[in-house]
Subunit: 144 residues, 12 copies
């Protein structure tokens, strides 16, 4: 069963940027854990990182027509402003789970509210890379 | 006389997504009606759909230099947040009309305010595909 | 087919007041264009101007019982404050279209939000007298 | 003992408009129940419906000089915006009770706050026609 | 038919505290009037006063399972802040009426909005002890 | 030289209502002082009191065509909410002065802001009937 | 009878600064008119201009002990922010009238609200130098 | 390893109340799943439901001294208002995970913000009973 | 002379929790200092700590009937939200002083405003345990 | 040990102004009590009253270089607006205690928030002249 | 030493668009001045203009790995909304200076606040093309 | 060519106060750098530091009459609140540049908005003493 994992803007900098907040792991290291756990759950994870809001809208909108059955997304900075991604999630026809590496509720005021979460099935935040891994299990359960 | 019609993010999903709000017609079906009505008014409509805010800014900014005389835009989700599109409309040197398929005034709080409308000639919203067709007439009248 | 066109407060001053915003035409001149275009569409337009919010509420509430099939309204100043007109539109049982001569989105902060638009089919604003004429076409299409 | 019952804007549409919110009874049916219960309490109820804010201000301001001893008012849409009615209640010199057919606390955000209630003796809302009938009893008790 | 009457925090102080706002009667005196009127309406009123939000949540949640058919509640200070009581009212499965001794609309800004009223059938406020007695009648009518 | 003095809603109650705020004089007593002082300044004061916002909009809009050269208005409760009166003042083509009996800056929060004052020449408030008399002098000076 | 006229910050620039808003007259020219009119009313006007908030607080607080019977103040920029001047007016024990050259209600958002006006007898604004002259008359009437 | 699971107010009503939002399962059924999964992870789950904010503060504050190593809490209605529970989480000295049955980001405005989440390790919401089960895994990983 | 000292939620954790903010002393150590200083002032201090808002409301409301002459309260987290405690203070009939260990004005935005302080005699905050000791002196002076 | 006591604007009016709020004592009477108590604590109190914000900024900034070891300040009206005094307190290098004669939490909305308190050690308010005397003790304790 | 200069959306229109605000120079003319001045400072300026937010995020994030030592950015419309660019600046590891051609503090309300400036070293605005040239000097000084 | 450099409140504390924010240099050291650079640009810099808002208003208002051709001002704390300084800048008739040592956009919420910047030519902030030196160059260029 194909699923898609979408990393939002600046996540390519993981492991280099603000390590006290986002941790020491690079995006490649996280991705290989995601792939491994996905496989163990019988999921085929297609993983991408995008800095452009429009590319994320494309990816979500096109997912169903490519045979993808569910999406895990960390919209990063776009979490707090993007109605376009919200609309894409609403219109894509497949379940979407939102994840965050850090606990956004304990950060700056403008990071506490998620615009995109209004349309997702559920949210998991604050567990570092495990936010993605728990989301894989949650998605598996929804898809079965 | 060349004009441009710009469809904003997620409108490629029309006819598949939230049909109770946006209707049953696909974007292709709407586009062929737009082309037909445009021709009957002596207008040559160049139609594009973009998911990226930057691509819309490009398209508006480049229009005049391509001989385009007026623009009809449905900025969709970017309507409510994009100062970049607002600036492009202000700076493009040709008249722009904003349209919406649904009556945004009767939807979620965050969809009631249009950031981009501050710079347009006028707005038409709530008439489904006819919003575009009425805009063609309005644009014709302005350009003549 | 009978329809009603309602002009809100101060519109009797058209052509005399703030011409840079509202244009040079008097209300009579606009009304005769409305009548003519309505007739060409097979519509019988009953046109009135009211300065009183209560009179507008009366006119909307009574319309259906007088055989009127649709309403075009420019609520002018009441656009931004009148829950009573909003309720009348909600309760009148026939389609209502809201029009504005100017593009209210580019004016003072308190003119950007329309209270009444929450209950209408659609809105057309910014095209001067053509806002009314385009609304006649839109109404025709809805009623047919 | 003479009292006055004032129905605010659009209440003439009762029984026709938004029945899921306001119920099936027409204003005439409610009025005849009010009259009957008033008589049983020894009250002579003068009942009027007004769409104009100014007419309501007139009616409240004139009441005392016509020998009216108390007022029951459903200000409807004007509840949420009318400082003029608030001032009339403050200045009229007789007790006023505010009633609503529906529970305004469970409706749209802009219907939750009552401007006019600041000056009344008390409020009764949410019991359909019984809101008026309970108010008759409450008014009787205050006047005795 | 069993009903429950719930008095919220500090109401045990009635007759001692701020008499200009809440009146001269003690809670016991009000309760004996409530019991008497309830009996005359064929209702068996179980009356309690609680200072703890949690106890009120308990009482509302347990009511139905104890054969109680309806609730009259004066949430006092919790009116303005308690989502927990709001949720209890939503989930309890029987009709709830909210009452207040004083007209909360004419008091401090923070007392004008009722959080709990969003889930009740209706509200009666401003009539002193009669707020409860009118509520008994209203509840009787709903339950019959 | 003809001028118009407009008293807004509830001012017919002067001398009866809230005397601690508005004073002991009746509207008739104030009006005869206004007439007398106007005559002494060579002004012919046409004085009216209206409870309806629409009637005030009519009166302002019609003034110039009746040969009136200036307006003194106490918009009372409509001061704080009426965009329609604001627009009438903007469009009427003659100078308008706003007056208040009491010092609105020291009253309730919602009475501190004047919507209508945005379009007047100047404001005089807090001097009881003298607010009108000072305005007559100010208007005289403007008109000469 | 001694009175004091206080000009607030930057008013020494009158006649040089933003003439379209504040007019062509210099402060000296205005002051000599004030003195002349004051004398004609039997008032002895002591006039000062201060750029420092503290100096204005001093001047108001000391006035009564210097035999001054009333104050006319144009707090200029401090109008909108100074609680210290508000407190001085409240505590000074003599009547204070607030004046403004321009109609502050038609200017920038942050100039529409007067903090200091909460404690004055009344306000006169928008009549240029005549704002002061009318205030002299109003003060005369209060002091007599 | 001992952990504590805390269910907040009204959760005893699960399976009876608003099933479209909270699902068909009773609290007992959810609890036995939690116990089972906990055991499979080598965790000994002590589970309680409290309607009182103070009881939840007690339970969190006492946990460490009872040998409990981590807490999973669904603060329900208190999520949105309780600084006391926030402080308890901050001061308890052991990791706390916040869970919600429904996706609170897609519900009423006042349910979108979590006060308590500011102090937790992470949040999991929207997955029904699985929110708790995923939290068990997350907690296990943190504790190991 | 009997007085009561009330410690609010989570204060039982003192000396263990967030020592950089609240200091190293345990609640027992603070309490024995309070008792000692109270005795030296001729006061008999009854000291309690409560995590439940309702228990604090009980304690304040019952104080006078138990012969208590004054209260010192640190409402902790309830400071910022509890209208119920505010009402209890208003209604209890004896003087109440509010204290805080830390200077709440220099902490999180939501800790800067005290709801409960509206009804107290005075506040002392920021001096650690000395906040209580200074309050004992202040209370002594008020009671004598 | 030298300390400084700073009285803010308008406090020279004490005993004359608004006695119901600030009491009957003159500033001189309060100052002689402060001096006496200071001496009894081994403190040498230098006391000044300033109406100018700038003078207060000077006094705080210069204190340390004059051998002053601590400051007690009642910033009066500047409490609520002065970032300059806040910065002076932050930068002066010695402990500062803020006092108020009245309980500012129970006064006008704009007096509830203290801008300056963000930088002080602690606050004492509501005890009249005793606010200063308690502050002397608190300061003594901090300095020892 | 390599640096990067980033021009945000719509700046390709310079010299054509709103010349009263942005000046007469084209982007090419500005760029050749930037290059020249950079060279004179020993800096090698790589200059790009982007309409897409994602492209700007890419450019900032990739800069360090391309040997770029500092960035000068005019985020134009994205200044006011882009958390993604803010995050890129925070995470890029090299100093960033924000510039604006116009003085954004004197423009529309929504242009006064810079979201992106929270993470930059400093800001220079209002000097037209010189904003860039001064920034080159400032950057030189930081890098040396 | 004479120019004036104005340092606002508390800047006399530089080098002693909050060095992590404002740096190690004393005001004298900064001033001698300013003088030196000014001379090298052919400017004669008159430099003053003021703690009083009124003194700053004086200095700006008097500048032109003293032959000063331009002003560089760091309004420090007054930046965020002073309409009086804003008005002085508007009215002084010569160009003014605003500077800040720190990047105010990355500091407390109340330091992010500059009231005074609305009237300046441009702003430079975040570069420590270099903010002044860059401003000298910018001013030179404007004056030439």
């Amino acid at each position: 069963m194909k699923i898609k994992v979408i990393h939002g803007p600046n996540l390519q900098l993981l492991g280099r940027r603000e390590k006290d907040i986002y941790g020491e792991l690079s995006l490649d290291e996280i991705n290989s854990e995601i792939s491994k756990v996905a496989r163990s759950l019988g999921l085929d994870a297609n993983i991408d990182q995008y800095n452009s809001e429009g590319d994320i809208v494309d990816a979500i909108g096109n997912a169903a027509s490519k045979g993808i059955k569910g999406i895990i997304i960390n919209p990063a900075a776009y979490t707090h402003t993007s109605i376009a991604i919200l609309d894409a999630i609403r219109g894509c026809g497949i379940p979407v789970i939102e994840v965050h590496l850090s606990n956004i509720a304990s950060r700056e005021e403008y990071r506490k509210h998620s615009v995109t979460a209004e349309a997702v099935v559920g949210q998991i935040s604050g567990f570092g890379k495990s936010s993605y891994l728990l989301a894989l299990q949650a998605l598996k359960e929804i898809l079965v």
